[in-house]
């Protein structure tokens, strides 16, 4: 993003974040912190090419997002996995297995039988196999969020964007998610050892201290890069200030 202003999805409202200069290098693990209303979700949607920035330029894999044709934009979106918060926006009329299979079946024009192998692999990796034939409404929010992650991974995207992935999860699922993302970032079995570029938003940067590599903060409509783990530790007072304002 070059000098971008991030505006909410609903048009007509003022920008939530201004003057964002942000380059995501491959194989990095970014964690962006901010309180409610700071623009985290819109930042993710803009980075994924779903929303136009109010101002400035957003490029995905070197191409300006809304200057390229639809086919190229779809190709780029396939290389990005976006996991929404609050249940992951799964498709309620499809089972968990069908939710996960949909992207790969649509883009490769596969039958259910052809998609079964990769879907089964993802279900086993994310421990969702017992829930494969259930619909999202039958699952707890913990497992819904995990299913959303599985759906985002089925096309093996190069970049994984997660909007508040720990929101509403219990301790056990939070630990699992952090551990899983850490393994993905380091090059897990799913990608044959290739490292995934990960960006996650959160309202608690400290929880990501041991997992993230680069940290940033959204505060007062401004984007502030904190640097690596040392930078995160050094910005303790700033973070306390952010959360105190929220309270």
């Amino acid at each position: 993003m070059v000098d971008a202003s991030i505006s909410p999805a609903q048009s007509g409202r003022a920008a939530e974040v201004e003057n964002v200069h942000w380059r995501i290098h491959p194989e990095t693990f970014w964690v962006v912190g901010g309180v409610f209303g700071s623009g985290r979700s819109d930042l993710m949607a803009t980075a994924a090419g779903l929303q136009r920035p109010a101002r400035g330029v957003v490029k995905i894999f070197g191409d300006e997002t809304f200057a390229i044709g639809e086919e190229m934009l779809v190709e780029h979106r396939r290389r990005i996995g976006l996991v929404f918060s609050n249940g992951g926006r799964l498709f309620n009329r499809l089972t968990i297995a069908e939710n996960i299979a949909l992207p790969i079946r649509y883009h490769r024009n596969w039958t259910e039988a052809e998609a079964e192998e990769p879907v089964r692999a993802i279900l086993e990796l994310t421990e969702l196999l017992p829930f494969a034939t259930q619909t999202p409404g039958m699952l707890s929010p913990n497992w819904q969020q995990r299913a959303a992650l599985a759906r985002a991974l089925i096309l093996q995207p190069e970049v994984l964007l997660l909007d508040k992935p720990l929101l509403g999860l219990d301790f056990r699922h939070q630990r699992w998610t952090l551990d899983f993302l850490s393994r993905l970032s380091a090059g897990g079995a799913l990608y044959d050892g290739k490292k995934v570029t990960i960006v996650a938003t959160t309202d608690n940067l400290q929880a990501w201290r041991a997992v993230g590599q680069q940290f940033a903060l959204l505060k007062g409509k401004r984007w502030k890069e904190l640097g690596g783990r040392a930078g995160l530790e050094a910005s303790g007072a700033l973070l306390n200030d952010v959360w105190a304002d929220d309270i």
Binding site: R105, N109, T111
Partner: protein, 287 residues
């Protein structure tokens, strides 16, 4: 009606009004706003229909293993599952209207016009309209609710994030499914209505031989009737699908907006179908 908190001329002070007037302050403003809103809706609907048409042809071979089952399930919902109800309505139409018409025509000695009147009333007008309204009531409302709920829950954005075209996935199967369903149900309804009409006449001892009845029907039907019937019923299906999908999908919705969107879709669909019907009347008069 937007809340207006503004000082009004003639008040003895500059205090803002705190109670809403039950009537529009200026009737012309009200009518004008309605006309502008109607024009906006019409424009947006036309754009949506055009986008749907383009996607339907541009992506006709894309992901057909995913989209074709969706078309089949839509035909199942809007077509096959409505066969019993359509049969019942065809029976009622035949007994109530056709039977009485045949009986009355016979009484005044113009039973040789039976075929012409049946073709005009049942084949050209009532058959397609009843089938369309039935599909609207059963499948159209369900479409608005499904898509409106999907929109409100953010599933459309989720599809876009996965690189899946929401129009191709949600709208195109419904347009094709409803067009085929209304066409098929209309044929079925017309057949049942014509047969049950003769049955009623037979029970009334109307001296009308079956061969005379069906010969009159055959003589009154032309190839244009079949062609225009196919076109009309397909357009009914397309219109209902586009309008219901538009109301469910095209605008940001909250969950509590879905009910209002459903009633709007039904009203708009009925108006659109009636207007299309009127246009076809002109075509029938010209040919």
């Amino acid at each position: 009606m937007a809340k207006e908190i503004s000082a009004t001329a003639g008040d003895d002070s500059e205090r803002p009004r705190i109670f809403l007037s039950p009537l529009p302050r200026v009737y012309l403003d009200f009518v004008g706003k309605k006309i502008i809103a109607f024009s906006d809706t019409l424009y947006s609907l036309a754009a949506f229909a055009l986008i749907t048409l383009v996607v339907m042809f541009k992506k006709s071979r894309h992901a057909h293993l995913v989209v074709h089952p969706l078309i089949r399930s839509e035909i199942m919902r809007a077509g096959i599952r409505l066969l019993p109800m359509t049969g019942f309505l065809g029976l009622a139409l035949g007994l109530v209207i056709i039977g009485q018409t045949v009986f009355l025509l016979n009484r005044i000695g113009v039973q040789n016009y039976t075929g012409t009147i049946m073709v005009t009333v049942v084949v050209r007008e009532l058959g397609p309209m009843i089938a369309a309204l039935l599909v609207l009531a059963r499948a159209g409302t369900a479409i608005v609710i499904e898509l409106g709920t999907s929109r409100a829950l953010g599933e459309v954005e989720a599809l876009e994030a996965l690189g899946i075209d929401p129009v191709h996935f949600f709208v195109v199967p419904r347009v094709i499914g409803l067009a085929l369903s209304i066409f098929s149900l209309t044929m079925y309804l017309i057949l049942i209505a014509l047969l049950s009409g003769y049955l009623f006449a037979f029970l009334q001892d109307v001296p009308l031989h079956p061969s005379d009845y069906f010969n009159q029907l055959a003589n009154a039907l032309t190839w244009q009737d079949f062609a225009l019937l196919a076109l009309k019923t397909s357009l009914f299906g397309g219109i209902i699908a586009v309008v219901t999908c538009f109301q469910g999908l095209a605008q940001p919705l909250r969950i509590d907006d879905v009910a209002a969107a459903t009633t709007r879709a039904v009203a708009h669909s009925v108006v659109a179908c009636v207007l299309l019907d009127a246009a076809f009347i002109v075509i029938y008069l010209v040919i």
